[in-house]
Symmetry: C2
Subunit: 152 residues, 2 copies
């Protein structure tokens, strides 16, 4: 699938905006459970996602962006939501980190896939490569935290 | 997990609202691919979800509802989204029906779980049982359509 610049920017903005919102929820959740270290990780992630979204929006100003379907940019749900026992999977910092990681990896693959199929030397290829690298760094930061967070 | 009436109503409203939005997306998508039969199924589902949401909102009027986390009510993503090949899984009516079905089943389990743990004779038990039954009917309607829709 070859993305047009409009399509690519629309995806990137929606994905960063979604990340920012989800990280804020995760930060609030960790704070409610008194895990201030992990809450701070998520607040930082929220901040970076917002900055990233804003800088992409600036690049996109004046461009008419397509409307996307929710499944093209939304985070996936954590696995245990909706389970009959009502076990609250997301209360555990390790699970919240793992949930975020899964979605960062998904975003990384998306950007990498766009980069791979974009024309050599195009702006999309440059941007998508750069964005994939950023998601990789987020993934690594979450890995680091998962390494020092007790498994539930 | 025992739900308060506020919590339960907030979940039900958010879930029905989410369903209505997703069904509209699915209907538009099917229409764009010229599948008017399946598009009509999804438009009907959108309509029922809206009616259901509105009637629950009426029941909840005057009650101060809690704010939910997105993963407590959002639909899960279709499995192949974000795949590197850029294959558009959701273009196929069968896959779109299957995606909707997965989320109906999830909602059915949620309502059934609430009903099971609610106090005998309580309003929550009555509502949750009724809502679980509705989701079961939606699941069966989608099954029927999946039975007559070619597998991709």
């Amino acid at each position: 699938m070859i993305y047009s610049l409009e399509d690519f920017l629309a995806h990137a903005i929606a994905m960063e905006d979604e990340s920012a919102e989800r990280y804020l929820e995760l930060a609030d959740m960790m704070e409610a459970h008194n895990n201030l270290d992990v809450s701070k990780v998520f607040r930082d992630m929220n901040h970076y996602s917002q900055l990233h979204r804003d800088s992409i929006m600036e690049r996109a100003s004046g461009i008419n962006l397509p409307k996307l379907k929710s499944w093209e940019f939304r985070w996936t749900s954590p696995p245990e939501v909706g389970d009959e026992d009502g076990f609250d999977y997301m209360m555990e910092p390790f699970n919240a980190l793992e949930y975020a990681r899964g979605n960062e990896v998904r975003a990384m693959f998306f950007y990498q896939g766009v980069a791979n199929s974009a024309e050599e030397g195009s702006e999309i290829k440059e941007l998508a490569t750069e964005f994939a690298e950023e998601e990789k760094e987020h993934t690594e930061a979450l890995d680091k935290w998962m390494g020092i967070t007790p498994r539930p």
